[in-house]
């Protein structure tokens, strides 16, 4: 069990009388891509915010690398190596690639009151990191606004990894992207996982999740429908569960049963 990075056990979250999450359990291992699937309103955003330390769970426990922990703020989660890349990516399009990459965590040089932002070093690292993903940044001082959506997503992920993420929570990383761009991002996510990171990939797109995921947790109306490893799950079954197919199947069985009883 030593390769389990983070475990969430029976997490519940209430907003007044509304039950946003009830007994959600999941875990992520090293090198694993765990896809969290759910339709709109399934409680995905509440779960992300709970995992990343924005909300505190009302019930349940969070275990990071075997130790029970509580997140008082997103900063706490980040310090534990759990980094969340939100849909808005926390990128400022008017600012340069380098300035975005290091925003809030700039490398320093010099002493005392003359301590300054080491732009040369930052430029070098940013260009190097983007190069590793296969995005050729000839000029790291160009604005992020000139990059494509996929490149921006990769930049945000790459930034999280650079600053020590062990678990990456990705909120709909492919939702705004075209087919080609989405595949570039998914490829990068697989590469990150193969380097030993745990990834929680949140999406409602089964076609993006199925090829890359190792296990799948389906969220429906605030409850988990369970976690399934890929080998026990066909794409069709996953699609069915996502669309509420299980409920329909149950209904079919019940109707048959009623039919049988009345015929007797």
């Amino acid at each position: 069990m030593s390769d389990v990075l983070v475990e969430f056990n029976n997490i519940s979250k209430f907003f007044g009388s509304v039950i946003a999450l009830k007994d959600v359990t999941m875990k992520v291992k090293k090198g694993e891509i765990m896809c969290l699937l759910g339709d709109n309103g399934a409680g995905k955003s509440t779960l992300i915010k709970t995992l990343s330390g924005v909300h505190k769970p009302d019930e349940g426990e969070i275990i990071v690398e075997g130790k029970k922990t509580e997140f008082d703020s997103p900063r706490d989660a980040l310090d534990m190596g759990i980094a969340t890349v939100y849909q808005d990516l926390a990128l400022v399009s008017l600012m340069s690639v380098t300035r975005n990459f290091f925003m809030g965590r700039e490398p320093k040089k010099g002493f005392g009151p003359f301590k300054s932002f080491d732009i040369q070093k930052a430029n070098r690292i940013a260009a190097e990191r983007m190069g590793q993903i296969g995005i050729d940044i000839r000029d790291p001082s160009q604005a992020v606004g000139t990059m494509s959506g996929g490149e921006r997503q990769c930049l945000a992920i790459s930034r999280a990894i650079y600053f020590g993420a062990k678990v990456l929570i990705l909120d709909e990383p492919t939702s705004a992207l075209g087919v080609h761009q989405a595949s570039v991002v998914l490829k990068y996510i697989v590469k990150a996982a193969s380097q030993g990171l745990g990834v929680i990939l949140i999406t409602h797109n089964v076609h993006h999740a199925y090829p890359v995921g190792n296990s799948f947790t389906i969220l429906n109306r605030g409850k988990s429908l369970g976690t399934y490893p890929k080998k026990n799950l066909s794409r069709e079954k996953l699609l069915g569960m996502m669309a509420g197919g299980e409920e329909l199947d149950k209904l079919e069985v019940e109707l048959k049963e009623m039919d049988r009883i009345s015929n007797n």
Binding site: P74, R75, L78, Y86, D88, L89, A90, L91, V92, S93, L94, M95, R99, F102, M103, G104, R105, E106, K108, K115, S116, F117, I119, I135, D136, I137, R138, D139, S141, Q142, A143, G145, T146, M147, S148, G149, G150, A176, L177, G178, H180, Q181, V184
Partner: protein, 372 residues
């Protein structure tokens, strides 16, 4: 979303970025417009008023001084605008700071340096109040500082009339002589150089043999110094990076750990302090404080910052640009006296210049942020 989708589609066959020429990089700099504008203004007045004495030592010092005064507050305004906020209370703060110097010095018998320090501490207080109100309430800074504009101007007038019975406080000139810090705001620099230049006939002399232009005014040095300092902050420090981040996308910046509220509050303090520097220069130069001083200066500061390439929406701009914006403003406002043009037209020019600047900036922003 469809726009985003389109731009992504256009990018599919061009995953790698094209080589960008040096010229294009230069075109994306925020201060380019103001720099070009300054050159145009100088060419224009060079042709129209080249032989009128506008560009003599005395004339040059004159328009530089007007530019410098505005430049001091424009730089504070530009930094704040890059941080995504406005401060409309700058003009009132100038009047208020002037009174904060004059009343303690004249009526309460404080030494001048203590009165100056008092004015600066009041500036920090007003700036802090502006900042806290904006970040805590989430109201637009336009409204909060508009309220502060009226509050400060009203308080300045009411308090001055209450304490002195009038709206002007003269009599400061005698106090400047022996004060340990007043010279920072009032002394001319390079006096001996100017005397020497006068003696060898390079610059014009008065009838008593002293040069007409006595030296570089302190305000010009403040203007240059503040521009250098602000540029260093913006380009070379983490705090500068946070200013761009806070102005460009405050939620994004917050998500990666930038203390957005602290950054914005400190920038409001910055504009109030700049207004107080302006007030010190003015009060010590005139030897008196006036409750109406600084009226409408907040708008001029914003014009200079916008002409200098700052986006009204924040996240983009430069201190150098604002300094050039102020130079254009000062040069035209003084230069117009040397031409045949009726000075009534000055404000028309000002408005047109601002419109052109905003349209140009919009174009630049599209260049910078959009995917091509």
């Amino acid at each position: 979303m469809s726009l985003k989708e389109q731009s992504i589609k256009g990018k599919i066959h061009d995953e790698r970025l094209r080589k960008v020429s040096k010229l294009k990089v230069l075109l994306n700099r925020p201060e380019l417009g103001a720099l070009g504008g300054s050159v145009l203004v100088f060419i224009f007045f060079g042709i129209i008023a080249g032989d009128t004495g506008m560009f003599s030592a005395y004339g040059t010092i004159n328009f530089l001084e007007v530019s410098a005064n505005l430049g001091i507050i424009a730089i504070g305004a530009a930094m704040l605008m890059i941080g995504g906020e406005f401060d409309l209370s700058v003009g009132s703060m100038i009047g208020f700071a002037g009174i904060c110097i004059a009343i303690p010095a004249i009526y309460w018998g404080w030494p001048l340096w203590m009165a100056i320090l008092f004015a600066f501490s009041m500036a920090v207080l007003v700036g802090y109040l502006n900042g806290i109100l904006v970040v805590r309430t989430g109201l637009p800074s336009f409204i909060v500082t508009l309220a502060m504009l009226f509050i400060l101007r009203g308080a300045t007038l009411a308090l001055t009339r209450l304490i002195t019975g009038r709206t002007q406080v003269p009599g400061l000139r005698v106090l400047i002589e022996n004060d340990p810090i007043a010279w920072i705001f009032s002394a001319d620099a390079f006096k001996s150089l100017f005397i020497w230049m006068g003696n060898i006939g390079l610059i014009a002399l008065r009838t008593d043999g002293t040069p007409l232009a006595t030296g570089i005014p302190a305000s010009v040095l403040w203007w240059i110094g503040l521009t250098v300092f602000a540029t260093w902050i913006l380009m070379k420090t983490s705090y500068g990076n946070w200013i761009f981040g806070a102005g460009g996308d405050k939620n994004g910046a917050r998500n990666v750990g930038v203390p957005v509220n602290r950054v914005k509050t400190s920038l409001f303090i910055g504009t109030a302090v700049c207004a107080t520097i302006y007030a010190c220069v003015q009060v010590l130069d005139a030897g008196s404080a006036d409750t109406m001083r600084g009226n409408l200066k907040e708008l001029e500061a914003i014009v200079a910052a916008v002409v200098g390439g700052c986006l009204l929406t924040g996240g983009y701009g430069s201190a150098i640009g604002a300094a050039f914006g102020a130079l254009i403003f000062g040069t035209v406002s003084m230069g117009i006296y040397y031409t045949e043009v009726d000075t009534d037209w000055f404000k028309v020019f000002l408005g047109v210049m601002m419109l052109i600047a905003v349209i140009f900036n919009n174009f630049i922003r599209r260049r910078v942020t959009e995917n091509k």
